[in-house]
Symmetry: C2
Subunit: 123 residues, 2 copies
DNA sequence: TTATTTATTCTACATTTGTAGAATAAATTC
DNA sequence: GAATTTATTCTACAAATGTAGAATAAATAA
């Protein structure tokens, strides 16, 4: 379940589009585009890693993610929390709000998200 | 400023202890400990990368971090935010609170952290 | 003071990653 | 139907990573 930087980038595109053909991916890359074989290699590696599945159409494939962005990402965050914050999410949260420079509005919206969470957890 | 998994682990130890000698580090590793040369290699790589400095004492060195855990970590988080949340910290925050399973108490404490932040930002 | 331990560097080697050419096969265009 | 384009696989190769032995130098113990 661990992806490298370029693999993440590619997955991110497929997560957003839901499914993608090789050519969609190549199109999406900004200039200077990588060689098509570079993309092909990444697709193969991701398929081998179990991150992507595909459905064959003629001589090409429609790729789709085998796990969601949330699944992948929550693994990553939890890993960060474990490694850097002694397994304490609240310690992380505190760090997070201090370090990421949320503006007034963002803080307010975060606050109401948390309030909702609190409510939804009340018995 | 980019560290690999094992490098992070080592840095984490030094960040906590503030400074450390080779032997402190080796001691801290749980069984089965890595070979001392493995640690030595990591220390050298981290020094070359500019993550660690040292002060020589006889034939050994007292290593210390050249940047703080916060500095390093906020770079990492901001990177995550950029890559996965379209550069929107609040989108990330929302995801975070939903995915990391904070309990009632942790949510409350996070809420008051945010309230403090809001207050401190009011003109 | 010789033997031993310790810290460091150098060398090494397998694995993973970023990148892409060569080869091939299928599909499309002329 | 021959020529070209497209998708995929195979091979390749440099850089980074995880791991550690050999060599060396300095410090310590016997």
């Amino acid at each position: 379940m661990n992806l490298s930087a370029t693999e993440e980038q590619l997955m991110n595109f497929i997560w957003e589009k839901e499914t993608a053909f090789m050519k969609d991916i190549l199109e999406a890359y900004p200039e200077p585009k990588p060689a098509p074989t570079t993309i092909a290699t990444l697709l193969k590696r991701l398929t081998d890693k179990g991150a992507l599945g595909f459905k064959t159409f003629g001589n090409s494939r429609e790729y789709f993610p085998l796990y969601s962005k949330s699944e992948y990402f929550s693994g990553k965050v939890n890993n960060l929390i474990k490694n850097f914050f002694n397994d304490s999410p609240s310690q992380f949260a505190s760090f997070f709000t201090k370090e990421t420079n949320l503006n007034q509005e963002q803080l307010e919206s975060l606050k109401s998200i948390i309030e909702d969470q609190i409510k939804s957890k009340k018995p």
